[in-house]
Amino acid sequence: MQIVSMHNITKIFPGTKALDSVNLSLGEGEILSLLGENGAGKSTLMNILYGIHHPDEGEIFFREKQVDIRKPMDAIHLGICMVHQHFMLVPAFSILDNIIAGAEPKFGPLIDRKKAYDRVKGLIDKFHFNLDPNVKVSELSVGEQQRVEILKALYRDAKVLILDEPTAVLTPGEVDDLLEMMRNLRRSGTSIIIITHKLRETLAVADRIMVLRNGVLIRDDIKPEDTNIEELAHLMVGHSINLDLHREAEHVGEVGFEVRDLSITENGVQKLNNINFKIHKGEIVGVAGVEGNGQTQLLEAITGLASPDSMTVMLNGEPLTGDAYSFLHRGVVHVPEDRLSMGLVPDLSLKDNAILGHHDKPFAAKHGLVQKENIAAFTEKCIREFNVKTPNSDVLARALSGGNQQKLIMARALSEESEVLVVAQPTRGIDVSASEYIHEQIFQYRDKGKCVFLVSADLDEVYQMSDRLLVLFNGEIVLECKPQDYTKEELGEFMLGARKKESIPFAKEADD
């Protein structure tokens, strides 16, 4: 019997069709793996099942009865529970309190802790979770915290468990434990949907695999025993290789920007491990990779925002050290990944935003006084040259559309003399014409003989834009290549960890 089936689910977000008539069915005691790239629609589909989003079209059946899930509590009452990628736990509480909060067994007006303990302990023993319910969550490893999240769901009699990227934060050993736990759960009749891009684990544990791409269901009948990693990677990334958009670098000069021995550890987890790369003048180096593999840390390190465990940066052969200010003023300009929180001050005018980072350059400030005419002229120039659509330069930045905000940030970065452009997610969430415009500007900047470092979660974008590609997986560069030497499918394999490092270290081929 099908426990859950979703029919013709369509969800439209402003500007994009996140899901286009997608069907999903899940049997009792089945482990279904939902595969897809970033933005393929996996999370949207699961958020619909969990009541966070409401579909524009389509129907959901639970045990063959049509249901209307409008909020997470509706889903929980049905027995559909979700373990989020970011855990919903209170570190200061004990495991027991975390699990029972919101559904406490009562003894008169008090919590029946004895009953709760027995129940939780019973679940822990049954599924071999190996936890002590009285320990505080703050003392647990990430893997153990995840078990607490799963326990929370089991405690609420979950029939269907949705795991969102459950292995993204785990060590290899913990991953094995998790897979074993999932098999135990299946044995007891719990159905599981696992959202992931990790192919090995999918193959190891899933009963059936479903692939989404750009909001469309590609296949939902793949049996792990009949497939392999290569096939899955191809299905996920698709066959649309479009290199037409790429413009060959006109003139690649000497090394302009170089990063050596970059390592970062956060809370005991190695986020970046010995990263080395060089960017030649007139070259775009792109970073491909699934989000959360160290991109954010890499960006923060090479723009001076974070202080890594170790790093040497050379700009035009000279060492570059210091904070964000020094990096900026030595010519490393930054287009940050989060437009609204890092890139702009939404409640200030375009003029104020346009000179952010340039605010003490001679044109903007003389003797500590702001040069309003110059700033106005500079802002006008930014608006004109980058085709920012705005009534004037005094409106607030929040009044602009996302595309125009991004154009303004690009304009700000490129309108002043600089050496290196570090640009992250340049076209995330913006329309096609603005994207094309921004890409064109990046090419033009490169062709002036400058270095460009591009990070994007959109593989197509990195693939089309880059003259050279780095693939980041688990905080390491697993591949360094020219895009044309590899197909997108092959890159997908590297990004997903299906293939390991095989390139010659760049150092040997450098300075040619």
Partner: protein, 302 residues
């Protein structure tokens, strides 16, 4: 009573409003709402209690009105901070100013007097009860009024409510992680309102102690920074009512030293500084000792 008994009795007397105040602040900060407004809620409670007793001559009605007054003004705080997401500090400070300004105005209108009300009945010490006959601690216990025992009861009840009941668990969860609380079906907005209202009610009771027990009249600014003291003590106790009550008694000791030495040769101002200096030092070491709720000031939909 010997000198030790006198000091202990005075210490306890001084600490009662702080005990109640810190309980108030605990409820507020446990739901992640900064409890700056406690000072104003105390002042309002003190005033409403005084007004009610003056007109009805009934001390219990006085307590009731103090609690209602504190709760009413805390509702404004909740409305500003929880519903309209006004900066919690600014909203709390406005509440404090409003508490003082409104009492001053009504004081003038009702009693035609600047600064203090006429005298009225107040809670008396339990000197003639069986308590006085208990050896050793008897004189100390009998030197208190009924509000001390109410405060003790509230501390114990608060401890049980916070740590032993579903309500308390949910309350604490909202303060620690409103997003997580929301995800398990807890209405965080309602919880925050409940926490702030409880804070107002208890702060009102603390105010009532000042105007109905410690004194037999209302004096403007009689809360004298006790709301802030309560807030620091509530925080430093890590939100645990028992620890907060113990620290309140320590504060009461310093406050009592201050009043004991006032008559001595040294200038009284030095002694009056003691409780504030104590609080200041507490505030400085606070975050080294206790960790506030992780979700302070956060809303589930941020």
């Amino acid at each position: 009573m010997n000198i030790i008994q006198v000091v202990i009795a005075a210490t306890i007397r001084m600490s009662v409003p702080i005990i109640l105040g810190s309980m108030a602040c605990i409820y507020s900060s446990r739901v992640g709402v900064v409890s700056f407004g406690c000072e104003g809620m105390m002042a309002t409670g003190a005033f409403c209690g005084a007004l009610a007793v003056y007109y009805t001559n009934n001390l219990w009605l006085g307590l009731l009105f103090a609690v209602l007054g504190g709760a009413l003004i805390s509702l404004l705080h909740a409305f500003l901070h929880v519903t309209h997401k006004v900066n919690g500090t600014l909203s709390g400070v406005s509440i404090n100013l409003l508490g003082t300004a409104a009492s001053a105005l009504v004081l003038k209108i009702v009693w035609k007097s600047a600064g203090f009300s006429p005298e009225y009945r107040s809670f008396t010490k339990l000197s003639n009860t069986f308590l006085a006959k208990i050896p050793l601690v008897g004189p100390v216990l009998a030197d208190q009024n009924i509000l001390f025992y109410i405060a003790i009861a509230i501390v114990i009840v608060s401890y049980i409510v916070l740590y032993k009941t579903p309500f308390g668990l949910r309350l604490r969860m909202v303060g620690e992680n409103p997003v997580a609380a929301n995800s398990v079906g807890i209405n965080t907005t309602r919880m925050k309102y409940v926490g702030v209202l409880l804070c107002g009610a208890l702060a009102g009771l603390a105010g009532a102690y000042l105007s109905l027990a410690r004194m037999n009249r209302f004096i403007l600014d009689m809360s004298g920074g006790r709301g802030y003291v309560s807030m620091v003590i509530g925080d430093i106790g890590g939100g645990n009512p028992l620890i907060a009550a113990a620290i309140s008694i320590l504060f009461g000791f310093f406050d009592c030293l201050q009043s004991l030495f006032q008559s001595a040769d040294t200038p009284s101002q030095f002694w009056m500084i003691i409780p504030y200096a104590f609080t200041l030092i507490m505030a400085l070491v606070n975050h080294k000792i206790a960790r506030g709720p992780a979700g302070m000031g956060k809303h589930f939909d941020d």
